[in-house]
């Protein structure tokens, strides 16, 4: 039991070290030069972009907009929610459950930072 725990700790330590070396992590970037991996992933970037132009979107509207499956949307929306980028509210319309998503201030700032980052990359390449 203790051996298994020690092994898990080692694996986790190794993963963290690998991520550090690659400058990759799951949450918000530590510096302005790092890409925010949380929204660099295509589907999550789509979710954030769609919510940026709407006060809120239901699960089905979001699924239709980013063209994905229920399972994929659930997984990625959950990651964004855990990162504090997206708010998720669950209500009932009669007897039908309704899930609505909206963008948080942190999510909007993350998208702005990401767009700035991409524009800076393009600008830098053009100068070269």
């Amino acid at each position: 039991m203790a051996k298994a725990q020690a092994l898990r700790r080692e694996i986790k330590k190794g993963q963290t070290e690998k991520q550090r070396l690659r400058g990759v992590h799951g949450g918000a970037p530590h510096s302005a030069h790092e890409i925010d991996r949380m929204i660099h992933e295509r589907l999550r970037l789509g979710i954030i972009s769609a919510l940026a132009v709407n006060d809120s979107l239901t699960f089905n509207e979001l699924k239709h907009t980013v063209k994905t499956t229920d399972g994929n949307l659930s997984v990625h929306a959950r990651k964004l929610e855990d990162a504090g980028y997206v708010n998720c509210s669950k209500t009932f319309e009669g007897r039908t459950p309704k899930t609505e998503f909206s963008l948080t201030t942190a999510g909007r700032r993350a998208l702005e930072r990401y767009i700035d980052h991409m524009e800076a990359l393009i600008g830098k390449m053009r100068k070269q």
Binding site: V53, N54, M118, L121, M125
Partner: protein
């Protein structure tokens, strides 16, 4: 044994990927904003002007006066819709005829042009009573096709217009002005309220 050819393709340049990401953000925003391309409350406003036009048209002594009133109403409605779409496009920082604006314009305009031409032909032939049904049918057709890029409720509204148009074609001529009120006034107000309440704006 099958030997795979060695890939000679270079990985995409960093700035190409950055441009691709920005394009993706913009396209997603355009697709998402189609939900409120013409806001629901704007459709309610168009419905209210249509009810006013019904009242004015009903009091016209001649067929020419009746037709002129409804044509003026169509122009006012187009101006309201165009202004609201332009406002939305400006808020997003995108040109009016890009993304959802272009899709809606290209879907709606062919039946509108057909409607305008048929109006001239039918009026000249003295078949004025066929015009209201034709207008409702063609407008419904445009809303169904334009609504394919929007939320489900929009094509449903188009189908309602088409059903009402079909009924108007076979209804007594005296009812046509009121059926126009039910369509251009009532349906716009009902569906506009639903869109405003459910999808915001």
């Amino acid at each position: 044994m099958i030997r795979l050819a060695e890939s000679t393709e270079q990985p995409p340049a960093l700035h190409d990927r950055a441009m691709d990401n920005l394009r993706y953000i913009r396209e997603t925003m355009e697709r998402a904003s189609a939900f409120t391309a013409v806001p629901g409350w704007g459709q309610v406003a168009i419905g209210v002007t249509a009810l006013a036009a019904t009242y004015l048209a009903a009091h016209q002594p001649t067929a020419r006066g009746w037709l002129g009133t409804w044509i003026a109403e169509a122009i006012i409605s187009l101006l309201i819709a165009g202004w609201l779409m332009d406002r939305k496009a400006r808020a997003l920082g995108a040109p009016l005829l890009s993304g959802p604006g272009r899709k809606v314009a290209f879907s709606l305009s062919p039946p509108m042009v057909v409607g305008a031409l048929l109006t001239v032909v039918l009026f000249r032939s003295g078949l004025t009573e066929a015009i209201p049904g034709m207008w409702l049918l063609l407008y419904g057709t445009g809303v169904v096709t334009g609504g394919m890029f929007s939320v489900n409720v929009v094509p449903v509204m188009g189908i309602c217009f088409m059903i009402l148009g079909a009924a108007t074609l076979f209804a007594p001529a005296g009812w046509s002005n009121w059926l126009m009120a039910a369509g251009f006034g009532g349906l716009h107000i009902i569906f506009g309220s639903i869109i405003a309440r459910k999808y915001g704006g």
